[in-house]
């Protein structure tokens, strides 16, 4: 279900060069993606997350306790890949921010990046499930930030976008339950220790509230 548009007060900050056109002598072809929807209308977004098996799951602001997968990214640890489907905006150079908030302590893990959203041909553009860099990579674990276990408990998950040039923003917030994924598709190639069972066991160790960096999880 599509989340309501939130004309939020949140203004994702500008970034070095983020609002700038490419330098004239830089050579690269500019992003040529077309505007999706009507730029005269408010930006609309849906919060999507990468699910097991490469699925793109849309989360509903009105539904409580939606499970979201904690994946092992290339660098280790566990992340939520949180992205958007959006329309009524220029999909080039969008600032995409995501965060997971501990509703008990109000602490948050934020991540923000500049992305080109991929048009779907149906008037929307969004994060591409084939490219994890088009999602906010929210680094949930090692859990050295929350006052609670970072899995199987409800957290607040949010994403926000800021359009290049205009600075227009939209945000979506849901209640979500991070869940350790057994999906090995994000493991590094050749990692023999990356089995479904081990993935979950390691995840529940490093996402535990009592985790200390470097402790033996096996």
């Amino acid at each position: 279900m599509r989340a309501a548009v939130v004309a939020v007060g949140i203004v994702l900050c500008g970034c070095p060069g983020g609002d700038d056109e490419p330098p004239p002598d830089a050579g690269p072809p500019p992003c040529a993606l077309p505007v999706v929807g009507d730029p005269a209308d408010d930006i609309e977004i849906e919060l999507v997350v990468l699910g097991d098996g490469g699925a793109l799951d849309t989360l509903d602001e009105a539904s409580p306790m939606q499970a979201v997968s904690l994946f092992k990214p290339p660098q280790g640890g566990r992340v939520i890949f949180a992205g958007v489907r959006a329309r009524n905006l220029d999909p080039c150079g969008v600032q995409l921010g995501g965060g997971l908030r501990d509703i008990a302590s109000d602490k948050i893990v934020p991540e923000m990046r500049t992305v080109n959203l991929e048009p779907d041909g149906q008037g929307w553009a969004g994060s591409d499930p084939a490219d994890i860099t088009t999602f906010s990579n929210i680094a949930v674990c090692p859990n050295q930030w929350s006052d609670r276990d970072a899995f199987e408990l409800p957290y607040e998950l949010s994403v926000a976008v800021r359009e290049r040039g205009t600075g227009r923003t939209a945000q979506s917030v849901v209640t979500a339950v991070p869940r350790c994924s057994a999906d090995v598709s994000h493991c590094e190639q050749g990692d023999a220790a990356c089995t479904p069972e081990q993935l979950v066991a390691d995840c529940e160790c490093i996402c535990d509230v009592d985790y200390v960096l470097g402790m033996n999880c096996r």
């Binding site: 490419p22 290339p74 660098q75 948050i108 893990v109 050295q144 949010s158 960096l213 402790m215 033996n216």
Partner: protein
């Protein structure tokens, strides 16, 4: 204090001699601490062929190092001052505590070599949970840092540490003569230790700097999770030649917004000579519950290795479909063809050593 009694002599003649025609470069020398005051580690003299990048991992056991220069090998080493001297071409020098063994194991040798992105010493997941001890990112670099009075990074006798050196002799950086790094660990007596130092290492690996998205930035916040205020006393950032601006801010731990410029305590505009900010000039208080926020800004430039090489790597490493190839620099240790976005932060009093990625 140790720092008022002993001053090691640094001769960065090799640096000064760079570009001096036929003059024979003088050797880089860092005098070791006197017996009982600390110890020194050093890399091999390393000649890097043109067009290549070497990354070498050196392993040491703390008790062995302590015993090597008159310290009690049964007692913790209270690191209070760190000196690092390195010759040109040394892209980075990082020292970590060894923790979970994945592909890098001190049992496989005290010296483990890797080249051009291949080998266990190039694979960052191998040290994903190894806490930071010290680092230097400046390829003409020297570091001489005495921690604040009473502050020490405490290393246990049975701990292994790993010192990693990365040499680049290619188009973005050169190693004109044999690479070499020295590091001095200066200790302080246990009865003078008032605060243990903690460290924070953060890295972003899902990054992409592409032709059609040529000026991206990547931000993240890292919580220190302290229940009392902590002091940031050291920081630096690390990216490669597409990096244009690296900022680190104090952060309240609750906001999704990039902090104001007034909260910035570190900035690097020089990818190959990033400053190392440290005490006494740097001493920033972080409120309890807070942390740091960092930002890496990039500008795409034509790759010295060509777009085909980047696209091939993108396909083989990240399985990127043909229609999405965009001459992208992605995460990797090879300077010529990949990018980094790393921060190194030092603080006290210690809550835990922190990995944020």
């Amino acid at each position: 204090m140790l720092r008022s009694i002993f001053r090691a002599t640094l001769f960065f003649a090799a640096i000064a001699a760079a570009g001096c025609g036929d003059d024979e470069p003088e050797p880089l020398v860092l005098e070791p601490p006197p017996p009982g005051e600390g110890f020194q580690i050093a890399t091999n003299d390393t000649v890097v062929p043109a067009g290549h990048e070497y990354q070498d991992c050196y392993f040491y056991k703390i008790s062995d190092l302590a015993a090597s220069n008159g310290l009690d090998p049964t007692q913790p080493v209270n690191l209070h001052r760190i000196q690092i001297a390195q010759k040109q071409g040394s892209h980075h020098y990082n020292i970590f505590r060894v923790r979970t063994i994945v592909g890098l194991d001190p049992a496989n040798g005290a010296f483990q070599h890797a080249e051009d992105g291949q080998g266990e010493c190039f694979k960052s997941p191998n040290w994903a949970d190894w806490p930071l001890i010290a680092n230097n990112q400046n390829d003409l670099g020297q570091l001489d840092w005495t921690f604040p009075d009473g502050v020490a990074n405490i290393l246990q006798p049975d701990e292994w540490i790993m010192a990693q050196i990365h040499y680049v002799n290619a188009s973005t950086q050169v190693t004109p003569e044999a690479g070499k790094v020295y590091a001095n660990f200066w200790t302080m007596p246990a009865d003078q230790v008032q605060h243990e130092m903690g460290t924070l290492f953060a890295t972003k690996q899902s990054i992409r700097i592409c032709q059609s998205n040529p000026t991206p930035s990547f931000d993240a916040g890292c919580n220190i999770n302290a229940t009392e205020p902590v002091h940031i006393i050291g920081a630096n950032g690390h990216f490669h030649s597409r990096g244009t601006q690296f900022d680190i801010f104090t952060w309240d731990g609750e906001s999704m917004l990039r902090p104001d410029d007034s909260d910035r305590f570190y900035q690097s505009l020089s990818w190959d000579h990033p400053p190392m900010a440290h005490s006494p000039e740097l001493d920033v208080e972080i409120a309890d519950g807070g942390g740091v926020w960092y930002t890496c800004g990039y500008e795409w430039t034509p790759p010295p290795v060509g777009c085909e090489a980047l696209n091939t790597r993108d396909q083989t490493v990240y399985m990127t479909p043909e229609d999405q190839l965009d001459c992208c620099y992605t995460f990797g240790g090879v300077v010529e063809s990949s990018e980094h976005c790393n921060i190194f932060v030092y603080y006290y009093p210690k809550v835990d050593d922190i990995a944020c990625f």
